[in-house]
């Protein structure tokens, strides 16, 4: 049936959903209470209107500035740089970090046409030079691209007064912060490695 096939195909394009799970979800949706489907449909179709990027850090927020950036009780000396907004939520869930964040929205990869200018590196440097931060934690994914990005930021900050550190290994190479378990993430945050010393 065409409409079922289309639904399955649409669902299977979602991350982490294979063909098998897509058809399981599709058949489940057909058989359950129609009100649940309407509610889910509404949530999906309006999510992009409700969520925007925080003016300060670039993470997801419903207002103009996210809860983390608005929280005055956090450690003003620490800023953690991540690739994606969901990384902020992963680190928050680990519960071991109490500073602020900055989201780059990607990592440097010239092959994919992503240079420093396509990321929010300029804003990051601006925040660091005007803020009270004394340590920058570079929590990019342990990939070639993440590593290049960390080295580039370290290079830009070489004559500033802040120290930079990189998440300690323990994260698998080629891995993704989002899929790292909490214990490993907490361990690598605590054991972060200095990249520069000022």
């Amino acid at each position: 049936m065409r409409s079922i096939d289309e639904l399955i195909r649409g669902l299977s394009r979602l991350p982490g959903v294979g063909n098998k799970s897509a058809s399981r979800i599709a058949y489940h949706l057909i058989q359950r209470d129609v009100r649940d489907n309407h509610l889910l449909g509404e949530l999906i179709s309006t999510i992009q209107d409700k969520i925007r990027l925080c003016d300060v850090c670039g993470s997801f927020t419903e207002g103009q500035i996210c809860d983390v950036c608005q929280d005055p009780h956090r450690d003003h000396t620490l800023i953690c740089v991540v690739e994606q907004p969901q990384d902020v939520f992963t680190i928050e869930a680990s519960g071991v970090y109490n500073g602020y964040y900055h989201v780059l929205h990607g990592a440097i990869s010239p092959l994919d046409g992503i240079g420093p200018d396509q990321l929010t590196i300029g804003q990051l440097i601006e925040r660091i030079t005007t803020g009270d931060f004394s340590e920058v934690i570079l929590a990019m994914n342990p990939t070639e691209e993440g590593d290049t990005t960390a080295m580039y930021i370290t290079h830009l900050l070489r004559s500033s007064r802040v120290t930079t550190s990189r998440l300690a290994s323990g994260l698998p190479v080629g891995g993704d912060l989002e899929y790292t378990d909490k214990v490993t993430l907490a361990r690598s945050l605590r054991g972060r490695i200095r990249m520069s010393d000022q």
């Binding site: 046409g113 240079g115 420093p116 070639e144 580039y152």
Partner: protein, 363 residues
């Protein structure tokens, strides 16, 4: 290590079957094109996740079919493993003991085979890329980290080339640093491996050829004057102008070369075809010896038609120069006389149109 059995389904022209290989010697005889080499290729794929003959997955699938699978039972020193490889919808999947693995690298620690085939000539007389491929293979077999370094270097070179094409050179220095760091690691491993080759290869060649020739391998790194990361960075910096002009990274271990030298002369230039073939065979037996030295494991040997190239005396000397092995596969043409008196535990198959049949009597 030993392959106890291998089950093929829609693999090339082979009739789907379970082939008993629980012997030290497996001989496969048949005319060309009947599929005797395909079983060797299947073993190789089980060990490395990819073929030595073709890059495309599609060619491994029987004509007009959509999927194929290989399942092998493998016995190592202290364990038993089932390795399964499938190609379905153009996608390859590999399972070790029913658990899917995401990187074929995980196979390397299960079972290792060394293939001896006509294509090995490329390692001796082919383009530098072919020669690098052989030595990179060897390095990956003896140093687990090497393949990660190599993948990382290839990625960095691609990124650096993209930077050069885009003419935004603000991040070039970062890639210089990264390429230098991983490149020096690779260069040092390659130097060390060539040193180990030269402890074995020249003598082995001389023993088998018995004509007094003693060729050595010379490693010719692209970064000739670099012994540390700082040296390499300097070389990369000095080549910025040329790299920008050609829009590619013109120096680095991705451009390394190897030479075969006899008394300071290029051995390959003056060598006969027979000598080149022998050099290719001896390269492979050296690889097997170095693998055993480094890991303590004996590789499975796959000899694809190569004994045919040697006269009886050379053949005997070559076989006795081989590394010790738990298992070896040999392919032969039908009328070839191979082992005079087989003192090994062996099984012989006759291969015709993709089907295997035993013929113990011909052993």
């Amino acid at each position: 290590m030993l392959i106890e059995s291998i089950q093929t389904y829609n693999f090339r022209n082979l009739t789907p079957s379970l082939v008993d290989t629980n012997h030290q010697h497996i001989t496969l005889t048949g005319d060309n094109g009947q599929g005797k080499s395909n079983l060797l290729e299947a073993v190789y794929i089980i060990c490395y996740g990819s073929s030595f003959r073709s890059r495309s997955h599609k060619q491994l699938i029987r004509f007009n079919e959509k999927e194929m699978s290989l399942i092998a039972q493998i016995r190592t020193q202290d364990r038993h493993h089932t390795v399964k490889l499938t190609i379905q919808d153009g996608k390859r999947r590999i399972y070790i003991d029913d658990t899917e693995i995401s990187d074929r690298k995980a196979l390397f620690s299960i079972c290792t085979s060394i293939i001896f085939s006509h294509e090995d000539m490329d390692f001796v007389q082919g383009a530098p890329a072919e020669q690098r491929r052989f030595f990179d293979q060897t390095n990956s077999l003896i140093n687990e980290r090497y393949i990660d370094d190599l993948r990382m270097m290839n990625m960095i070179v691609k990124q650096r080339n993209a930077v050069l094409r885009q003419k935004d050179h603000s991040i070039l220095a970062i890639y210089d640093q990264k390429l230098a760091e991983v490149g020096i690691q690779i260069q040092q491993q390659r130097e060390e491996t060539v040193r180990s080759f030269n402890e074995l290869f020249p003598d082995l060649f001389e023993t088998v050829s018995a004509d007094g020739i003693h060729p050595e391998i010379k490693y010719v790194p692209s970064w000739k004057q670099a012994s540390c990361v700082e040296d390499a960075i300097r070389i990369l910096q000095n080549s910025h102008e040329r790299d920008a002009k050609y829009e590619m990274t013109t120096t680095g271990p991705h451009r390394d070369k190897y030479q075969f030298i006899e008394h300071t002369r290029d051995f390959i230039e003056t060598a006969s075809t027979g000598q080149r073939r022998l050099a290719a065979l001896v390269l492979k037996s050296t690889q097997a010896l170095l693998y055993e030295q480094a890991t303590g494991n004996k590789p499975v040997l796959l000899l694809d038609d190569v004994l045919l190239e040697l006269d009886i005396k050379k053949r005997e000397r070559f076989l006795s120069s081989l590394a010790s092995y738990d298992q070896a596969f040999f392919t032969f043409l039908p009328d070839e006389s191979y082992f005079k008196k087989d003192s090994y535990d062996s099984i012989a198959y006759h291969v015709e149109r993709g089907s295997y049949s035993t013929h113990e009597e011909s052993c």
